[in-house]
Subunit: 460 residues, 2 copies
């Protein structure tokens, strides 16, 4: 007899004789002649109710089943006589696979998110985190499906790199040198003896690699882990997070904005279509306004607003902000939220930022002051996507690198791509974990990642 | 006018007026009245031949187009009058987007793989590496599709970890401590001052995390980068590689073998169906026997052979091996190749290995000598998959950890999963890069990864 997953069984909507279900006990209550056992196998949010009649040979053991125990059930899948569920299984045989120790922390009561983070290895067994990680899985798949349908090629950009894409510092070093006694040369660390023969870090972005592939294959994307050694303790920052980075040859900033808008709508629609039951949990317990936020974003045309206009708009808003607004200053979360939540009440793409606040690789506009950058802002979360058209002109790229005192020698290969058949190209980065926060309404990024990495936290 | 990709255009198989194509010049030859320009845009292996008539206003510039230059072509897509291609474009207008500098290394001649590795940023522009990275992309998608169809959940296991899954050492350290002057405490490095407050490494496997999720969600898999700081200079080893690791609750070793066989066949069939043109290149230039090897694996029932029988078979083979065979010794590549290529002439799954040569988490068999491990061996490449049923019995797991002198405290969470609702479960690891080697016949793992990471190599 083959085991059937509960998700599939509940979809059958018809009586099935002799099914085999395996899972974990979520609750149990006993009446005079029966024990009602709620079993969950992780395939979906819903449990299946199993009716254990006291005629079962091991009934005395069954009424001692603790929460979290594992069982194997054979019985008939029938229309439930009780209320609260449409279907149930009347058991012919229940095997106790294992009893959970009484110290099992997930007893039937509400737990705080803070507590559940301390048992990250067990929290996927709760309704909320089971739903979370199923949604995360579905939306990862949606990302790949979206790009596959558009003939983008998926590339694996290197995780260990010698370059610092953003020039932002805050890198994790990767080394095999003995820290107690590293080799020295002229009183400095001798990295020629390190594994890679020079300094190595964890990547902050796959963009530069993706550009090389886009200039060969056309449209490409990465979807992989990136790292930032930022000592931040906010609910929006982790040291390790997954980024989606498309890069397109023969594409300008407008095409880039089109793709950004399209992917956001696609993923949200996919979530609504494919994760209905799990999403409902978040709409019910986490953010009552969730579905209307999601529907709003999926159905609205995103506003496209030059940075300079955004600054004017904020200045003239009459609203007092904590941080000043002015050309050359980066927009803060309060400004972003004002624009998307109060003023436009929908997603806003800000573009053409001052060159002074953006990295070297963004394309210089003809005003010589701004670059063809764009940020996509959405209600509640703020920035979901940041991207740009890339500087494809060799001379300008080189002088931007000089201005910013970058070590050009290390980027010889990047400059090569502008020497040989350079074309306009664009791309962006979508923070996948923040996207999941947006889709679920969850406020802390630690709660959308199975085992989050933050300062002083490396357990599990 | 919207640009059309060459892959799509060549599929149209019908005359199309006024198409817009953008790409890079692969070759150019001039006759009296025409210039024939082969343009490739990376969307497929094939170029489109563009006929530039000398009546074009910029014809004098066009006949100076260097290899690697970028062009934008408007013209009609028509049946070719020449031989060598079915379709071509008669250009009405050709814009030169950029000229490639004459030093462009990819002139029309064969280059060695060794040379091309030194220009990893440009090699995707060659036929071979373009095909390679398109195949890599398609098969990545096939992995996700396979698991999605089987209702497995995709999980992102942590890349930075405090634990060493295999207990094998050879880890990359991740740190933000200043190497020149790391903080000390009692003459030892004070890791409490490091970013994570303790020692941190790059993961060698997502398995332990995947187990936690499987014991909540049922069937899960990872597909992400893993790392090994092995000072190997073979064609089979890199420091950074991508692994696929499924993990299934309520699954024993047999179910594990079933899944391993199924995924290998699925991916190979997908490659044959979806990557025909690109695969042909490898069958023509890299390995003449490629298609028959692939067809053979996709259509054969894998042999399933206990390790003990494999040892007997090898001992009685009459063949002289460099390395001795005997119970308790690991099989070497020469033994694996003998079994798959000479004896059985098809894939072989060896199972039930001696516990002494396998990690702590593998399930102890009732003979007390072997564990429920399995390795899948295929012709030419050897081991593609390694996996096991996991030890789900708390007491036995604990005593195995004691035997191997493991720091149990660090694994409290892993042990927890055997304390609360433990069930039989199994999983394996499939080295994705080696799989690509197998599918393309390419012998060096450096040539299946865009920017490979090996000892003393971190460029790009």
């Amino acid at each position: 007899m083959n085991r059937i997953k509960i998700a599939k069984l509940l979809k059958s909507e018809t009586l099935v004789k002799d099914v085999l279900v395996k899972g974990w006990v979520r609750t149990r209550r006993d009446s005079k002649d029966f024990s009602f056992i709620e079993v969950n196998d992780g395939s979906c949010l819903r449990n299946i109710q199993v009716i254990a009649n006291n005629s079962l040979s091991n009934y005395q053991d069954l009424i001692r089943l603790s929460i979290g125990s594992a069982v194997s059930v054979v019985g008939d899948f029938i229309v439930s006589k009780g209320s609260g569920q449409q279907w149930e299984i009347t058991a012919k045989h229940i095997e106790i696979i294992s009893l959970a120790h009484a110290s099992y922390p997930l007893q039937k009561k509400r737990h705080t998110d803070e507590f559940l983070r301390t048992i990250s290895h067990l929290r996927p067994r709760t309704n909320k985190y089971g739903a979370m990680f199923r949604i995360r899985s579905e939306l990862s798949y949606a990302i790949h499906k979206f790009f596959n349908e558009k003939d983008f090629k998926y590339i694996h950009s290197p995780i260990i790199t010698g370059s610092d894409c953003e020039g932002a510092g805050e890198l994790f070093r990767v080394t095999t040198l003995p820290l107690e006694k590293p080799p020295l040369k002229e009183k400095k660390i001798d990295f020629s003896q390190d594994f890679f023969g020079s300094e190595a870090n964890l990547t902050v972005s796959g963009q530069l690699s993706a550009e090389m592939l886009a200039l060969a294959l056309g449209d490409v994307y990465t979807f992989g882990p990136t790292f930032r050694a930022e000592n931040s303790h906010t609910g929006r920052h982790v040291a390790e997070f997954w980024m989606v980075e498309p890069e397109m040859a023969f594409c300008d900033l407008e095409g880039n904005m089109d793709l950004a808008e399209e992917i956001i709508k696609y993923i949200i629609s996919y979530a609504i279509d494919q994760c209905g039951e799990d999403l409902e949990l978040f709409a019910k317990f986490v953010d009552k306004g969730l579905m209307s936020t999601l529907d709003g974003v999926a159905s609205s045309d995103f506003v496209r607003l030059p940075y300079t206009d955004a600054v004017e708009l904020l200045k003239n808003s009459g609203k007092k902000f904590e941080y000043d607004v002015g050309f050359g200053k980066d927009l803060q979360v309060e400004h972003e939220r004002y624009l998307t939540e109060h003023h436009f009440k929908k997603p806003v793409i800000i573009y053409n930022y001052p060159k002074t606040i953006k990295p070297f690789y963004m394309r210089l506009n003809s005003d010589n002051k701004t670059v063809a950058a764009m940020d996509v802002l959405v209600p509640k979360v703020g920035e979901l996507i940041g991207g740009s058209q890339r500087e494809e002109r060799y001379d300008i790229l080189e002088s931007r690198m000089d201005e910013m005192k970058m070590p050009k020698e290390a980027y010889w290969w990047y400059l090569d791509s502008r020497r040989y058949g350079t074309v306009e190209h664009s791309g962006f980065g979508l923070g996948f974990d923040r996207f999941i926060m947006f889709v679920t309404g969850v406020k802390n990024i630690r709660d959308v990642i199975p085992f989050p990495r933050t300062p002083n936290k490396i357990e599990f």
